[in-house]
Every structure is written in structure tokens, then in C-alpha cells.
């Protein structure tokens, strides 16, 4: 009889589902709270802004939608037997510091998700961090714990002892193979004005993601304003940008572009002061997105990314053109996504994506055609993917999906029209995953179990990567996390990841003579919330690598690498371990965080174990921003943020001795004898950067201006050493990248 009663009650239960968006622009609101007033029933929106509340008995209820920074809205619903009510809600923003919104979303995430080593960066946060000339997403992420850099201008992510080629970078589902290719590796491909949010998994990432050993950076661009036409234009020292967004019937669009004008500035300078200076280099990029919602259940999104760096110049002698260099490289991509609510509890997404990175270098010697050189490298990625999200009962959320990938990787090197080297790799990969997030004891113990399978057609290989995550809320504000998993990668790079300066990576599929590189992550941690805006995490981790494939030779200091897949490769293993500490607080316009990482990284090749160049023992970042008080002239009511960092010097091979290298003609040059590659460390690195911005009105438009100063107290951090052999004994020179405090200014206008 009791069973019959329970069954009757369950059959009578209904559900409520829908999307929560921002009323001002139609953007999704992730991790908004949705709950029934006076009832112990509630949920939160997921990353897509979708919520689902199960088991709502028949009756009349008031349902509330709340999100910090927005007015709480309530609606009355009349739940009938076994009914699903679809309720899409738009929340109206109030004036509150965006940092608090971020912290609030993180708080909801803390309560609902089984995630470790995860940070979300919003566009506003990227903008408020000091930068060099241009705000940059990757540089902002470098302030997070566990992430180290090689030098002051490095724009690569070395995550917890992993090299940049171990990071999966996605932009709206498009795999980006060289995310830091602009300006010889100084800027990333992502225009920060259109980044909606960026989620970084520094380790222990869920089964949804795979094919990389270390981390995942998942970037979602803004949806585009579906309420009104709007735009933003920015003028900086080296780039100008324009972004326009607006509604279309049943949807929205966003289009943005930026271009550097170094070339024009240098050209103008050369006209004024001399006629010999030129900088024939520029880059441009653009991101566009269209959303179309034919019905509440269906949403189509088309997103595109394009950009190119161009360096082209001619050298002339007395007889006319002598040599010409034409060097271009860039990322392109396109994704088409169809998101459908299949039933109130099942949510699916299909994605088709194309990604391309193309490099060409042509050197023409008009006097000596035999010296003409042509280099071409291209990677094309075709991806088809289906993901499903199933709210299975009250305690389970099941994610599963499948994706197929076809890769085409080409290299050509020609000298004097003769082919020196070419390779054509065609690879197919099929992956699938299943993951269940189970609230074992609701609000106290959550477990996430996942399995990712991979078929790799080179050598017909299979890999199965189990993942497990546990979160135990020991108190309302304290949780313990544990995450373990196996990670497989089928791509490798033929250039060294230890180069100080490399423009881009040269990707290659792992061939049939090498085993697939794998890594095991073990991460445990504690997350403590002191109040609704203050959190602290401590995460010890251990990562073990097997079958790593890397160039045999140690890279030279100060050299840009342009390699081909003919480089000798070595296989090895390694490990990385350490502790990451993160403290973040936000009160009104005052915000800040402290991130500290203690890390040990080792690689073993043959009998030699060494610390790679990116092995930083200590890395401390402090970011502090506040609204300038009204009594301060000029700066009053502006926002000032400071960033200070200090880090252990990187390991390097010390030059121990020198000797004369004689030639047949009686002359000689000096050659140095190096010590072990990691026995010495560069001096401590530290630097202070400052950012100030203030809202203005100009030509009737709202906007802001900013000034950044990088390296405020003129610290000369050493990247490597060179020797001046004109002195005896030779003089050692420090190579630094920021010889002076570097200011940059910019202006942004919104319309």
C-alpha cells in the first residue's frame, strides 16, 4: 500500500525548467539561483543558463530567481499533475560591482559542482588586470595559482608543470592550436572585448574534455545583445578595436575586429625623422557570432574566428630589389552549434567545427634563386560532436557524448623550388564519454564518476581514461575535494616547449612508433568560504607523465624556433607536484586575490632527470583593485588595480668555461662549455604593474579611459645571459625584456 502511495505521489509530481538570461542584453546567466519559496525545492542554472527543478507536487507556488547584481524576480506557477512548466526569465541588472557577481557565481558553483582546480574569468576581470599595451586573456590567466610564465612577456600557459602543448584551448567549440600566436607570441588570439567567460581547468578536468594531458581552457564569447544595437570601440597604443552587437529576428549577432598599427606608426615616424625605418608587420583578427532561437527549445549558434599576422618586406641594394621575406601565420575557425531541449530533463547539443592554423614563409633572393626558401605548415581540424545533459532524478546529472575528429597536418620545406621535406598526416579520432554527477548525500557528498574512451586510427589504438571526483561539504562553508584521472594525448609538438621565444607550435600526430603520452592526476583540496564574497582554496596535486615525446636537443636561448618534424625526438617520463593556494575577496568596488604556487617539475629522458626551464619553485601573485576615493584629484572615482608578482628564477645551464674554436684559416671564435641544464637558477623575478581606469562621457557617448604601467619600479628580470667576448675575461650581460617602466593608454567608447 505504501509503495502504491509513493508511486501515486511520484506520478503526480511535475517539474519546472527554462533559461535565465540578462534582461539588458539577453546573455545567459550561469549559476543563478532558482528556488520555490517556502518549499525545500530549488536548483541553479548550469553553464548554459538552464535550470531544472524536479518533483514539484501539484499546487500553487512562488518561484524565485536570484542572482547577485540583478533584481530578484518571483513568478507564481500553478503546477498540475505530471506537468512540466517551462519558464524563461530575464533578470534586470542593478548597479553592483561585477567582481561580486563573479564571486557569487563561484559560490553557487561551490555548492553544486564537483570541480577542483577550476577558475572562471569574466571579461570585466580581464579588463581590470594591468597589461602591456593590450588587455589579454592569457596574461590574466597567468595570475591564477598553478600557472607560471617563462618571462615578463610570455603569453603561454605552463599549468602545474605541464607544457603549453598539453593545454586544450577551445573557443566556442573551436580547437585553437596556437592561441598565443600574435606579435611573435606576445598576444593571444582572443580579443578580450568579446570574451564572455573563460573557464580554466588546471587539472582533474571532467570526462567531457580530453585529448590533452594538463589543462583545459574553454572560452565562450558573448552572445550578442538581443535587446538593442550596441557597440564598443577602443583605441589603444598599438591596436584599435570595434565591436558591434544587436538583435536579429529571434536572435542576436556580434561582430568584432581589431588591427595593430605598429606599421603605420613606424611609417609615420620614418616620414618625420628619417626615411630608413620601417616595421612591415601587423596583425588583425575578428570574431563573429550569430544566435538564432526559432523556438524556446532550439538554439542555433554560428561562431567564427579569423586572424593573421603578416610580416612582409623587401631589401633593396643599388641594383633594385635584392631579397624579399613574406611571412604570414594565423588561426581561423568556424563552429555551428545546435542546442535543443529534448525534454525538460534532457538537454542536447550538436557541434560541427572547423579549425585551421596556417603558416607560410617565403624567402626570395632575387640574385640567387638557389637560396629561395619556402616553408608551409598547416593544421586543419574537423570536429563533429554531440553532448547530452540529463537531469536524472533528484540526485544524478548524467553527461554523455561522442565526438569525431579528422586532422590534416601538412609540412613543406622547399629550397630553390626543390622539395627538401614534406609530410602529409591524416588522422582520425573517435572519442566518447559518460559521466554521472551523483549527490550521494544531497548538499553534503557529491561524487562524479566518468569514463572517456578514445580510438586513434594511427596504429589502431584505444585508450580508456577513467575520472573520479568527490566533494565532501564538511560544513556549510567548507568542502574537501578529491579528483583523480587518467589523460591521454594523441598530438605532440616537434618544437621545444622550453623555448623562451616561440611564435607557434608545430603539431604532429603521435606516430605508430611511439606510445600515446598519458598523465595521471591526483588532486585533493580544501575550499573554504569565509563569507559570501571571500573564498580560499588549497590544492596539493601530483601529476605523473608517461611516454612523453619531446625534442632531443635543449633549445638555444634567445632564438625563435622554426622547426620541421625532422627534429630528433626523445621519449621520456616525468612528474609535477606542488600546492596551489588561492585567496579571493570582493567588497563593492574593492577586490583582490592572492595566488601562490609551490611546484616541482621533472622530466626524465634516458638516465637523465632534469628540471625543465619552466620549473618555478615559488610563484606568488597579488592583485588588488579599489575605487579611488573622491578626495583624490584627477583619479577620483576611478578604479585602480595593482598586480605584484614574485617568483623563483628559472633553471638554466650555466656557462662554465670557454675555449677557442680554431679553423683551417688560422682564426678562431669562442665557444662556451655549459654545465648541467638545470643546475643553476636565474635571479628572483618580481614586478609591479598598475592599471587605472575611469569612466567618461565623450561626444555624448559613455566610455572609459585607462592607463597601464607595466614594471612600475623598473625591475630588470633576467631572461638569459649573453657574453661579450671583446672583454677578457668576457663580460656577462643580462638580457631583460622590460628595460623601463612601460606605459600604455587607451580609450573605450560604448554606443
Amino acid at each position: 500500500m505504501f509503495a502504491g502511495f509513493v508511486l501515486t505521489v511520484l506520478q503526480a509530481l511535475g517539474s519546472v525548467s527554462g533559461f535565465v538570461t540578462d534582461a539588458s542584453n539577453g546573455e545567459k546567466l550561469s549559476y543563478a539561483n532558482v528556488y520555490l519559496e517556502d518549499e525545500p525545492l530549488g536548483s541553479a542554472t548550469n553553464e548554459k543558463g538552464y535550470y531544472y527543478i524536479h518533483n514539484v507536487p501539484t499546487g500553487t507556488y512562488t518561484i524565485a530567481f536570484s542572482y547577485i547584481g540583478y533584481e530578484t524576480q518571483t513568478r507564481t506557477i500553478e503546477m498540475q499533475e505530471s506537468e512540466n512548466i517551462q519558464l524563461n526569465v530575464e533578470l534586470v541588472p542593478t548597479s553592483i560591482a561585477i567582481e561580486e557577481v563573479t564571486v557569487s557565481a563561484e559560490r553557487v558553483r561551490f555548492e553544486k559542482e564537483v570541480e577542483v582546480s577550476h577558475v572562471t574569468f569574466l571579461q570585466r576581470e580581464i579588463q581590470s588586470v594591468p597589461g602591456l599595451f593590450e588587455k589579454d586573456l592569457i596574461k590574466s590567466l597567468q595570475l591564477m595559482p598553478g600557472i607560471v610564465t617563462m618571462h615578463d612577456l610570455s603569453n603561454k600557459l605552463y599549468v602545474r608543470g605541464g607544457s603549453p602543448d598539453e593545454n586544450l584551448v577551445l573557443l566556442d567549440g573551436i580547437t585553437v592550436y596556437n592561441p598565443s600566436a600574435h606579435l611573435f607570441g606576445l598576444f593571444s588570439t582572443f580579443n578580450p572585448d568579446v570574451v564572455g567567460d573563460a573557464q580554466l581547468y588546471a587539472g582533474g578536468f571532467p570526462a567531457e574534455f580530453g585529448n590533452r594531458l594538463s589543462s583545459v581552457l574553454n572560452i565562450t564569447t558573448k552572445e550578442g545583445n538581443s535587446k538593442r544595437f550596441a557597440g564598443e570601440t577602443s583605441l589603444g597604443l598599438v591596436t584599435s578595436k570595434l565591436m558591434v552587437e544587436g538583435p536579429i529576428p529571434n536572435g542576436s549577432f556580434l561582430i568584432s575586429g581589431r588591427r595593430t598599427y605598429f606599421d603605420a606608426l613606424v611609417w609615420a615616424y620614418s616620414k618625420i625623422w628619417s626615411d630608413t625605418v620601417s616595421l612591415p608587420y601587423y596583425f588583425y583578427d575578428g570574431i563573429a557570432k550569430i544566435n538564432y532561437n526559432p523556438s524556446p527549445e532550439n538554439r542555433f549558434t554560428v561562431a567564427g574566428l579569423g586572424g593573421e599576422d603578416v610580416m612582409k618586406f623587401e631589401i633593396e641594394d643599388d641594383y633594385g630589389p635584392d631579397e624579399e621575406i613574406d611571412f604570414t601565420w594565423g588561426n581561423r575557425g568556424l563552429s555551428v552549434r545546435w542546442r535543443r531541449v529534448l525534454s525538460p530533463s534532457v538537454y542536447g547539443e550538436m557541434l560541427g567545427a572547423w579549425s585551421n592554423f596556417l603558416t607560410t614563409l617565403t624567402y626570395t633572393d632575387f640574385h640567387d634563386p638557389l637560396s629561395t626558401f619556402y616553408f608551409h605548415e598547416e593544421i586543419i581540424d574537423y570536429t563533429v560532436k554531440c553532448d547530452f545533459n540529463w537531469f536524472w532524478g533528484e540526485t544524478h546529472t548524467v553527461d554523455f557524448g561522442i565526438d569525431g575528429k579528422a586532422l590534416e597536418i601538412d609540412y613543406d620545406v622547399e629550397v630553390a623550388d626543390e622539395n627538401l621535406f614534406n609530410s602529409r598526416d591524416r588522422v582520425k579520432i573517435l572519442s566518447g564519454y559518460f559521466q554521472d554527477t551523483w549527490s550521494v548525500i544531497p548538499n553534503i557528498v557529491h561524487v562524479r564518476l566518468g569514463l572517456r574512451g578514445l580510438y586513434y586510427d594511427v596504429g589502431d589504438r584505444f585508450a580508456f581514461d577513467p575520472r573520479i571526483g568527490v566533494k565532501y561539504h564538511v560544513a556549510a562553508n567548507t568542502a574537501l575535494n578529491l579528483s583523480c584521472g587518467r589523460y591521454t594525448q594523441y598530438l605532440m609538438t616537434s618544437n621545444s616547449q622550453e623555448s623562451y621565444f616561440s611564435i607557434f607550435d608545430f603539431w604532429r600526430p603521435v606516430d605508430s612508433t611511439h606510445n600515446l603520452p598519458i598523465a595521471y592526476h591526483v588532486i585533493c583540496g580544501i575550499e573554504q568560504w569565509f563569507d559570501k564574497n571571500t573564498k580560499c582554496t588549497i590544492e596539493p596535486y601530483y601529476k605523473k607523465y608517461y611516454n612523453l615525446i619531446m625534442p632531443e636537443a635543449e633549445p638555444e636561448e634567445g632564438e625563435f624556433e622554426l622547426t620541421t618534424p625532422t627534429e630528433s625526438l626523445a621519449t621520456g617520463s616525468g612528474y609535477a607536484m606542488g600546492i596551489d593556494f588561492f585567496f579571493k575577496k570582493s567588497i563593492g568596488r574593492t577586490f583582490g586575490w592572492l595566488s601562490y604556487s609551490l611546484g616541482f617539475t621533472r622530466r626524465t629522458v634516458g638516465d637523465v632527470t632534469y628540471a625543465p626551464r619552466y620549473d618555478r619553485r615559488h610563484n606568488l601573485n597579488i592583485v588588488f583593485g579599489f575605487g579611488v576615493p573622491g578626495w583624490m584629484p584627477i583619479f577620483r572615482r576611478g578604479l585602480l588595480s595593482l598586480r605584484w608578482y614574485v617568483a623563483t628564477g628559472l633553471p638554466y645551464a650555466e656557462d662554465l668555461a670557454r675555449y677557442r674554436v680554431y679553423t683551417e684559416y688560422g682564426d678562431y671564435t669562442w665557444q662556451v662549455i655549459k654545465g648541467a641544464r638545470d643546475s643553476y637558477r636565474l635571479p628572483l623575478s618580481h614586478r609591479l604593474d598598475a592599471h587605472f581606469e575611469k569612466d567618461i562621457r565623450l561626444f555624448g557617448l559613455a566610455g572609459s579611459w585607462y592607463i597601464d604601467v607595466m614594471n612600475v619600479y623598473n625591475r630588470k628580470n633576467v631572461v638569459f645571459y649573453t657574453w661579450d667576448f671583446d672583454h677578457d675575461p668576457p663580460e656577462r650581460n643580462n638580457v631583460t625584456l622590460l628595460p623601463i617602466p612601460v606605459p600604455s593608454i587607451g580609450l573605450t567608447l560604448r554606443f
Binding site: 638557389l370 573554504q528 619553485r617 677557442r660 680554431y662 637558477r681 675575461p729
Partner: protein, 256 residues
């Protein structure tokens, strides 16, 4: 602030301070002991052979002149020569050694305060330039044809003033080595001229040293020191070059 929060903060501070103090990085100090550095290439067409004896220097010590008081012994299975220092050339010389092809020569250098240096090289075997013959006229599209030398790692081609490109012998059983003159004359201006073409069969020590000279010389065949001890078998031919048939090259350089 309640007790619990204080405890957590204290714990964090202790962990941080402990981590920093316990695992601060210190650079290891590598002690480097200077070694002997030599340069010697045995030339099959020279009547006398020389060895420069030098040493390595720590980066912080001033460099001195070459070493003039070392004991330098060049030997083979059939001969032992003690070389004498010549102030004019700053090198040790032997004047009465007749080099034998395909013979391993050993060099020993001893100097007080340094490890004794031992080096070996095997002189490549003789070969013959089949084409061009003496005083032939050649053009860009011609090739140099020679018989292969035993024990040669590569062949170097020069016109007397400097060694040009290295040409690796093809990995075939063919007994001939073919070198395209278009590659040898790459970058030369059109014109007619007379020159002497030198072809050297190089041992692997010589090749590795010069191939990597601008990077990190690959020191092979030497124990207890650095430098080069290599050997060359050299043949030459006088020829008349007619560059009107310039092949692919459209060079306008005025000087070779």
C-alpha cells in the same frame, strides 16, 4: 573573527611560510677544471703537420696565449714523432712524417696541471678526380666525378681560399661520387675564369667539428680535452670555368 577562522588563517600562513623557507632554490656550484684544447688536421698533401695546443678557460679568468711547453706526440703503428713548438706559428710541428692512407694516427698531449689528452683519427683513403681532367673547360651544368675514398665521412670542395659545402656520399654501393658544379658555384657571377678545384675526403672528426662549429662543436675522437684532431685526403685539378651556361642561377654578383 571567530576561533575557527583564525585557526584556518594561521594554518595557511604556516603552510606558506614553511613551504617558502624549506624549499627555497639554491643554485648548485659546479667546479670546472680547465682542460686541454687542441686543433690539428692532418693533410695528405702537406709535408709537415701541426698541432695547436691551447686550454679551456673558466668564464671569469683571463685568456692566455697558446701553450708552448706541452709534450706532443703523434704516432701510428709504424712511427712515433715528438713535435716541437714553433714561436712563429704558435703550433707544434713535425716535418718528417709521411702520412699513410687508411692509417689510424694517435695524438697524445701532456701538460702539467691538466688531464692528458688522447685523440685519434684515421686518414681517409686516396681517390681520383675522374672529371674534370686537368685544364678541362667546365660549365654550370657539369658535375665533378670522383672515385670514392674509403673511410671518408664527407667530401669538401674548395677553391683554395676556404672550404665550401660538404657533400655526403650517397648511401649506395656505387663506387663513384658525383658533385654538381651548379651547387659548388651557387652565388658566383657569370664569366670565364681559371681556377684550381680542391676536393678533400674528410674523416668524421673533421666533418662533425665544422658541421656544428657555430653551434656546439661535436668533439669526437678526443679523450681528456676538447678540440679537433682530424684528417683529410686531398686531390686537386686545374680547370677553366665557363659560366655562360649558368643553369638555374641568374646571379648578378660581381665577385665570387
Amino acid at each position: 573573527m571567530n576561533k575557527r577562522r583564525r585557526r584556518i588563517i594561521m594554518l595557511c600562513v604556516i603552510i606558506f611560510a614553511g613551504a617558502v623557507s624549506l624549499v627555497c632554490e639554491r643554485s648548485a656550484v659546479e667546479i670546472y677544471d680547465p682542460q686541454l684544447n687542441i686543433y690539428s688536421v692532418l693533410h695528405s698533401d702537406h709535408a709537415s703537420q701541426s698541432v695547436i695546443v691551447d686550454r679551456t678557460y673558466r668564464m671569469d679568468e683571463p685568456a692566455g696565449p697558446v701553450i708552448d711547453d706541452a709534450l706532443v706526440i703523434l704516432s701510428s703503428w709504424s712511427s712515433v714523432d715528438t713535435l716541437t713548438f714553433d714561436q712563429g706559428s704558435d703550433a707544434y710541428w713535425t716535418y718528417n712524417l709521411i702520412l699513410q692512407p687508411l692509417t689510424e694516427y694517435s695524438l697524445m698531449v701532456w701538460r702539467d696541471g691538466f688531464d692528458t689528452l688522447y685523440a685519434r683519427t684515421t686518414l681517409p683513403g686516396p681517390f681520383t678526380i675522374l672529371y674534370p681532367e686537368h685544364f678541362d673547360t667546365v660549365t654550370f651544368s657539369d658535375t665533378v666525378v670522383l672515385t670514392k675514398s674509403d673511410h671518408a665521412a664527407v667530401y669538401a670542395v674548395s677553391f683554395g681560399d676556404e672550404f665550401g659545402m660538404f657533400f655526403e656520399p650517397p648511401d649506395t654501393s656505387d663506387s663513384l661520387m658525383i658533385i654538381p658544379l651548379a651547387e659548388v658555384f651557387s652565388g658566383w657571377s657569370p664569366g670565364n675564369f681559371f681556377c684550381r678545384l680542391w676536393v678533400a675526403a674528410c674523416d668524421s672528426n673533421f666533418y662533425r667539428y665544422y658541421d656544428e662549429m657555430n653551434n656546439d662543436p661535436d668533439v669526437t675522437g678526443i679523450d681528456g680535452g676538447v678540440g679537433l684532431f682530424g684528417s683529410l685526403w686531398i686531390e686537386s685539378v686545374d680547370m677553366f670555368v665557363s659560366m655562360v651556361d649558368a643553369g638555374k642561377s641568374q646571379s648578378t654578383h660581381t665577385e665570387p
